[in-house]
Each structure stands twice: as C-alpha cells, then as structure tokens.
C-alpha cells in the first residue's frame, strides 16, 4: 500500500484516518470551548444560507417560517466549518498543484457531452433533490455518514444504506450508457 497516490494526493486510508482524528479533536474542542458537543456536518448550513438570503428580500416570511425558526438562521460553528472547507481545499490543491478549473467533469462529458448548460441543469436539479432528502433524513454523508456512524446511531446506518443503495442504482441508470 502506498501513502501517496499517483497524482500527489494522500492514500485515502491515511487522509480518512486523519479525518477520524479531526472528528475526535472537534467534539472535544467544541465541548471544552463552546460548552456543547458539536459533530462534523454540512447540510444544516444550507438551510441557514437559504434563510440569510431570503431575509434580504422577505424578512417577515423567514421570521414566520417554522423550519427557519427551528433551525435558527445565523452564522454558527458549522456555517464557518463549511466556509473553512473551501479554504482548506484551496490551500491543499494550490500547494500540490492539483487545482484545476473544471466546467464539465469527464464522467459527465462521456455521457452528456461538453455542454456547460446541461451540466449546470443537472447539478442544480440534483442539488435541489439531494437537499430536500438531506433535510428530511436530518443529515448528509458528513452528518450521518461520518458523525452518525462514529456514534453508532441507528438512523445513520439506515440513512447511509439508502444514500449509497439508491445512489448506486440511479448512477447506473444515469451514467450507465456512457460506461464501456
């Protein structure tokens, strides 16, 4: 087993194990410094971002919406965590020269061609569906897949099986014809 991949990345086993340590450090630091244990997650931040955006055009509507009230529209620990992901990925990719401007990914292009419009429509529609699902299931591959599994949560085992089970099925339908 190699510690480095061919393109200069780290072995997924190594990078993954380090994320495991980060998850432990993160629950400890939030408990000690903030007084409440917080787990790595991402999808709730999209609700807060939607709320912050809607507040600029219809503040009353956000104030009276039950879900926004329950979620509390504010820039919290997880919101900044998500912002940090962009910065961390930027630092890592520019320092090891894996940063690439990509408008249409290869697997997509093989199936749907080089049209940016088609890719944009697919990404947007997929995003809408996935986020409705993530909010319903109360988590995404970070919140359920990593944090929930680490705590041995029953709901996370079921959610992760659904994520991958349906993901595998739909991916074969959507990209199947492009695969040799």
């Amino acid at each position: 087993m190699k510690w480095k991949t061919e393109d200069g990345g780290w072995s997924p086993y190594l990078a993954g194990a380090l994320v495991g340590l980060l998850a432990i450090a993160s629950v400890l630091s939030t408990t000690q410094l903030l007084g409440k244990t917080s787990y790595l997650g991402a999808s709730t931040t999209f609700v807060r971002a939607a709320g912050l955006f809607e507040q600029t055009i219809a503040a009353d509507h956000v104030g009276s919406n039950e879900y926004f009230t329950k979620t509390k529209v504010r820039i919290d620990w997880q919101f900044m965590l998500v912002v940090g992901i962009v910065m961390g990925a930027l630092i890592s990719s520019t320092t090891d020269k894996s940063f690439r401007l990509e408008s249409v990914p290869p697997t997509w292009e093989k199936r749907f061609g080089p049209s940016i419009g088609k890719r944009a429509a697919g990404a947007f529609a997929g995003g809408v569906i996935a986020m409705v699902g993530a909010r319903l299931a109360d988590g995404c591959p970070s919140g359920h897949g990593l944090s929930g599994m680490m705590q041995l949560s029953l709901s996370s085992f079921v959610a992760l099986a659904m994520f991958f089970g349906v993901g595998v099925w739909v991916a074969h339908i959507v990209y199947g014809r492009g695969q040799s």
């Binding site: 495991g20 400890l28 990509e102 408008s103 990404a123 809408v128 029953l154 349906v166 990209y175």
Partner: protein
C-alpha cells in the same frame, strides 16, 4: 467573529485540506463510487469512521462528551435517504464536498451549491406538509444501534473493525 465561528473555521480548513488530499471531492470520485468502479470514497469514509468511532465512544463512555443521535424517524430517514441518493448521483457532490470541489477549482460545483440552497429553501416551505405526513409516520427517537439490537457497543466496535479491515484487504486484492 466569536469563538464558535473561529473554531468552526479552523476545523473546516483542516477538514477541507484532508478531503482534498484524500482526493474525494471530485465528481468522478463520487460518481465512481456509485458506479462501483472507484472505491476511494469508501476507503476514506470507512477509515475516518474506524478511527473516530473509538475516540468518540470512549469519550462518551467517560462522560467527557455527549452523543447526539439523529432521530430514527422511519419515513424521514428512508424517504429522505432515497431522495438524497438520487440527487447525489445526478449532482456528483454531497453538501460538504461541493464546497471543497469549488475550492479546488471545479467551479461547476457552484450550480450544485445553488441547487442545494434552493432545495433547503424549498424544504423550509414544505416542512409543514412533511411534518403532517412523512415525519408523523413512525419515530423511534434518538437511539443508538447498540440499544436497538441489545448488543454492547464494545462488541459492535471490534466486529465493525474486523469487517471493515477485511473489506479493505478485499479492495486491495481486487485493485479497486
């Protein structure tokens, strides 16, 4: 910025750095996992779970931290999980990795991010409907696997390790 925001930012930078180093942010890696042609995502996630699980279960046992299970609401987790899986396959990113993909220059992630913000706004509007229907079906509450199958977490943990390590050996043997 307050302490919570600084701590979140610092943790996020490390998280994004490791996600990028593990090469799991890319569309082709995510879709490759779902097409079962590239096991990078599985190796990465399972390695994180193996390590994180030991520390988190031990710290909670020592009552240093508190666990926070997400509710086992059957309709929500099954239907929500299925919708997420379908959307994930088409989008090729998950919520956390879409931001990381943007950071490494895969700018088409912007459309995925906008779609997810729109999806979150849509969910906020649909919430009363879901609350009266799907969310009201059957909720087993915030429970762990251990209580639900009556097996100590100190038995589940080593079994999970052994099973996962065996899977890793199989991946390497098959060159996946």
């Amino acid at each position: 910025m307050n302490t919570a925001q600084w701590l979140g930012l610092f943790t996020g930078v490390l998280f994004g750095f490791l996600l990028q180093k593990g090469r799991v942010l890319r569309f082709d890696k995510q879709v490759g996992a779902m097409l079962l042609t590239d096991m990078t995502i599985f190796k990465f996630m399972l390695s994180a779970i193996l390590v994180g699980m030991v520390g988190i279960l031990w710290l909670s046992n020592m009552e240093i931290i508190t666990l926070s299970h997400k509710p086992m609401n059957v309709g929500a987790v099954v239907l929500g999980g299925a919708l997420f899986g379908a959307g994930w396959a088409i989008m090729g990113f998950c919520p956390g990795t879409s931001l990381g993909a943007l950071g490494e220059g895969r700018w088409h992630a912007v459309f995925a991010i906008l779609g997810m913000v729109a999806g979150a706004a849509l969910y906020a509007e649909l919430y009363p409907f879901f609350k009266a229907t799907v969310l009201a079906w059957k909720d087993f509450g915030k429970i762990g696997l251990s209580e639900s199958i009556h097996l100590s977490q100190w038995i589940i943990l080593p079994l999970f390790w052994v099973g996962t390590i065996a899977l890793f050996f199989w991946f390497e043997k098959k060159n996946l």
